[in-house]
Subunit: 707 residues, 2 copies
Amino acid sequence: MNTLISLAAVATVSTCLSTSLYAQSPQTALSLMPWPKEVTLQPGFVPVTSAFSIAVSGSGADDARVVHAIPRLLARITRQTGIPIPPAAPPTANHALLSIIVAEPAHSGPQKLGDNERYALTVADNRIQLAADTPLGVLRGIETLLQLIQETPTTPGTAPGFSIPNVVIHDEPRFPWRGLSFDVSRHFMPVPVVKRTIDGLAAVKLNVLHWHLSDDEGFRVESKKFPKLQELGSDGMYYTQDEIREVIAYAADRGIRVEPEFDIPGHSSSFLAAYPELGTGSGPFHVAHEHQPEPDFAMDPTKESTYEFLDSFIAEMTALFPDEYFHVGGDEVSPKRWLANPQIHAFMEEHKMANGAALQAYFSKRVIELVIKHGKHPVGWDEVLNPDLPKTAVVQSWRGQQSLWKAAKEGYQGILSAGLYLDLSYPASYHYAIDPLKAPASPNGGPVGKGPAPGTPADLTPEQAKLILGAEGTMWEELASVEMIDARLWPRLAAMAERFWSPESTTDVASMYRRLETTSEWLEWLGLNHKSNPELMRQRLAGPYPVRPLDVLASLVEPTKGYSRHAERYGIYSVLNRLEFAIPSESDTARRFRNDVDEYLAAPKDQRSSVHLRERMAAWAHAVKELRPMLENESILTENLPLADAVAKLCAVGQEALTYLDGPNAAPADWRKQANVTIKPIVNQRFGDLLIQIGPGIQQLVDAAGR
Amino acid sequence: MNTLISLAAVATVSTCLSTSLYAQSPQTALSLMPWPKEVTLQPGFVPVTSAFSIAVSGSGADDARVVHAIPRLLARITRQTGIPIPPAAPPTANHALLSIIVAEPAHSGPQKLGDNERYALTVADNRIQLAADTPLGVLRGIETLLQLIQETPTTPGTAPGFSIPNVVIHDEPRFPWRGLSFDVSRHFMPVPVVKRTIDGLAAVKLNVLHWHLSDDEGFRVESKKFPKLQELGSDGMYYTQDEIREVIAYAADRGIRVEPEFDIPGHSSSFLAAYPELGTGSGPFHVAHEHQPEPDFAMDPTKESTYEFLDSFIAEMTALFPDEYFHVGGDEVSPKRWLANPQIHAFMEEHKMANGAALQAYFSKRVIELVIKHGKHPVGWDEVLNPDLPKTAVVQSWRGQQSLWKAAKEGYQGILSAGLYLDLSYPASYHYAIDPLKAPASPNGGPVGKGPAPGTPADLTPEQAKLILGAEGTMWEELASVEMIDARLWPRLAAMAERFWSPESTTDVASMYRRLETTSEWLEWLGLNHKSNPELMRQRLAGPYPVRPLDVLASLVEPTKGYSRHAERYGIYSVLNRLEFAIPSESDTARRFRNDVDEYLAAPKDQRSSVHLRERMAAWAHAVKELRPMLENESILTENLPLADAVAKLCAVGQEALTYLDGPNAAPADWRKQANVTIKPIVNQRFGDLLIQIGPGIQQLVDAAGR
């Protein structure tokens, strides 16, 4: 039995997977993420034991990244299995369990965009072979190998333990630029957080950490030339240059490029607080500690001294960051202060600039010239696109695919971030559908604005399509603190990573969610705490009460979506400890409930069973009842009393609906109307900053029962 | 209302606590551990906000330990509450929320045994005052302050958040030596594990890390004079001298002394593997990687070269470790090889030594002279006690209180470790009852051997009693690996810490367990993972199945007790990933069930309710049913099928018993007999290395129902 799992053959194969391999015994279901280009599963497996040994050969074997990866691999096998691997004499390729063959040495200098990441992995005949053209390919293959380790299925005559199934994998990425845009200005993220985030990126084969290092709320890098940037432009929380180098080396070791961003001329209050002479007008300028409804601080693009400062600043920072790309922001510049300033106004008239956009184009041109002068490729957000932009620049689109495709048609390289904002709490399935080369759907499922229907392929020539370099998940951190940043990134970022790496045809949402749940678990083994830290946060909220019923309530709700939570009340020192911060962005429980309701309703009436739906709703109702003393007495939780009441009502109505659906008699004529009077104020309604995500499933039951 | 909670007034007060304060609203129940000498709770509280400010005064204010403690305190408040505390201008004592007054500067040099640890904490009128004689007292008071922070009770007109109840506390320790003996030879524990263990020790006011650095299985310190010790005496896992200094500094900052132990002349295979000339006979000697039923390697006490080596070695190590005390082991020396060696035999005859003990006494005397020569107080296990032992030596007793009291009567200082072996998986209540100044009970509740009845006070004069310096929880690590060491130490070590710190009268077990549960939770906030890591280990065992039913089963069982698990099959590279390693040493669920059964049976029949007992047994039965496919298919778990069946049987019999107990009719005549046929092979029986701890509660129900 050979099961060919080439996902190149589109949804047919994916569907086939979910009904054959995936739906079989859990032991044979691989949980690889991102799904490789070609996977052929074969019977049998190789046991993982304390005698695990590795031999590395090929002309790239001495590459530091490969050398460092070996002990890390062994340590991770131990963590994933509990099996200690004692130090052993280096094996030869002949008797090593794992042979790694690295065909080519890496080019000199730091990792470049487009470096070969291909690898082949063969597990057969009690041996494992990982072959790659480059050290980078080895790193990617190691991550796949680690994902293959599973507990051995119980089989007579086979020792209990862990093993790796026999498999042949050929893999390479779809896009060369696969990143996370990581804001550390709104909430500073200390080095250990950045490092564990890099571990996560590497585990799901992302290859760019786009580090958003300055914004209105803080400047986060030590500048030796302009020390006031960190002294006055931050609250003392910034990375020293040594720490920057340490993070870059850590990332490089894991095959991740680090692209810095300093956002100018807008989003630059932290620059102006340090060096007011850069600003429009005389200030006073200050770092934004509170929410700014309309931030309008910006650099003055008309002064030559601004460019002298930036020349010197960019010289320092391009020397600190070895990556070829250097991001200069350029988004959301308010022209208000520019236009209100007589001097700037005069400059614009003199240079025949019709509006703020023209002035920004002038600024962009000057800054981009500086970036190029210092040997880097400039990157900017959509707004930097203008006829003067040199073709070496890269446009990162927060506006959407249309904007990206337009740039590509004009010959510009581009990266997509629209639809990939992790901070907005949309589900993984929404982000999973965002493809840089297809028209997107809106979060609510419809087309975006007047664009083409969702899924319509980009109208680009193959040459133009190649200019679309990839995409970045984007994490803005107004509402994320150190203790729950992991829960905002993971596991949804892994689903995005699959979109950026795997073949275009890898689109089976059910398979994605099944594998995402496993991925989420082993990301915790890697040191991420997206599951465990929210648990601790809920424990904190529960005080002396048993936390379990609160965990149950938490499993049914999600934070409200989009920008609805960015209210005036949040600043960088706001307290983010309420229930909405102590939950994942997406509820697995609610998703499963929705699927089970669909399945229940789709089945012929004589084959339906409502037992599990009933049991779950009963357990939820029980939990919110148990929860009441905690909610009444623990002050931070008390705001959730209406939420708990609403869950109880939903469960009661849901049980009624099932009674009618299961029973011989239809619901009375006005039952549905009455039920809707109860649940309409609940389903899709906000409770503070929370949504009850089992609501839609119960609404479906009501609609079906009352038909 | 002033609630005076002086626990100086013995069990009466404790009992009063458990029925008044502790049993009231959870909000007023303080979860301090160890319980302070005097606690007076008053109405009202001080809110904890982002404006938390600290002023330090007094002539000890500049002590490095105090200076370093302040940012740590703020960071921990943030971790415990989620409230960010932005940097602020240093407040003056006049308007700071927390005033710390340190009366005296510390003496110069490292922390000494007996250094003053007293403090007073007053929370009143929206201010907090922490006053201590010394910097050490400040550290202890800070831990109490952190334990006082709780979620504010919901009160109209009061903002939701966290607060500190108004309280006056006067506190100081009962014993000056309160430690953990920490074996890092059998399983090496890397620096981060040692550091987080130190965090835990400091949090429960322990003050000694007794670091067991060498044993048969490995020598764990870099020696510059004798580098073969780490090169041949370990498998490459050892602390560099820089790391040792780093750990000592880390511990010193937290008020913890670090006492090294190098165990000689027995338990010394790692010495002999490196320097065979130290050994008895010609070897070959090797580090013990596998279990040794009767390890009999020992140094040769008859060669002068042995003492020349030890002189030089002790010189190096006493310089590395600044503590005044230096532990030279001395336990469990097998004379077998000595007596079989003609040369040694001749030496013994020449020196009129009747037996191995006499030869060991000679060795001890020589070694202790060396320790004293290098400026340290020697410490050794029971066996070093002999008439030649100088009075500056300290005897650490693994044999028992009698041994300790005997030493005290002879004028020796002593430390208790008997009854405090964390590796043997006894419950916290057992260890909590172990008092260095009272006769112990055996783990099964009876007296130990022919000793006096449990609880009998030591027959020592006050002067002799003062020689009992304190006690150490003892963790031998044959069966502990990095991933579950925390679960073997915590939370039980916190209960021991209370015994060592709190007044002798603090003995209420129910109160201890209530506070221990809270303590266990906030130890996770501190970075210990005694709860979260076993969860991950169970997740690993569960493979692709939902882990929850396995967690339920895990909550009902405990590892077998005592030395019953130290079988031949364990060596330092054994795989410790089975269920018995993925659970706490003590089951909270089983303990609560036992208590609830007691309460149910003690109540008059018309006031009994079995609802909760029934619900729980139904949930357990349901979980083990759900669990079956996981146990059948995941190979490492398959051995637990009989365990799961046994739980199902116990629950079924328990439900039957409750039916008879609740109902009007007694059980049929032979019911009890039949029930016992079912459960006797289960209750108190081993399932592999596990015990089902709900068994005794169900046995009680059966006994009562069949009466």
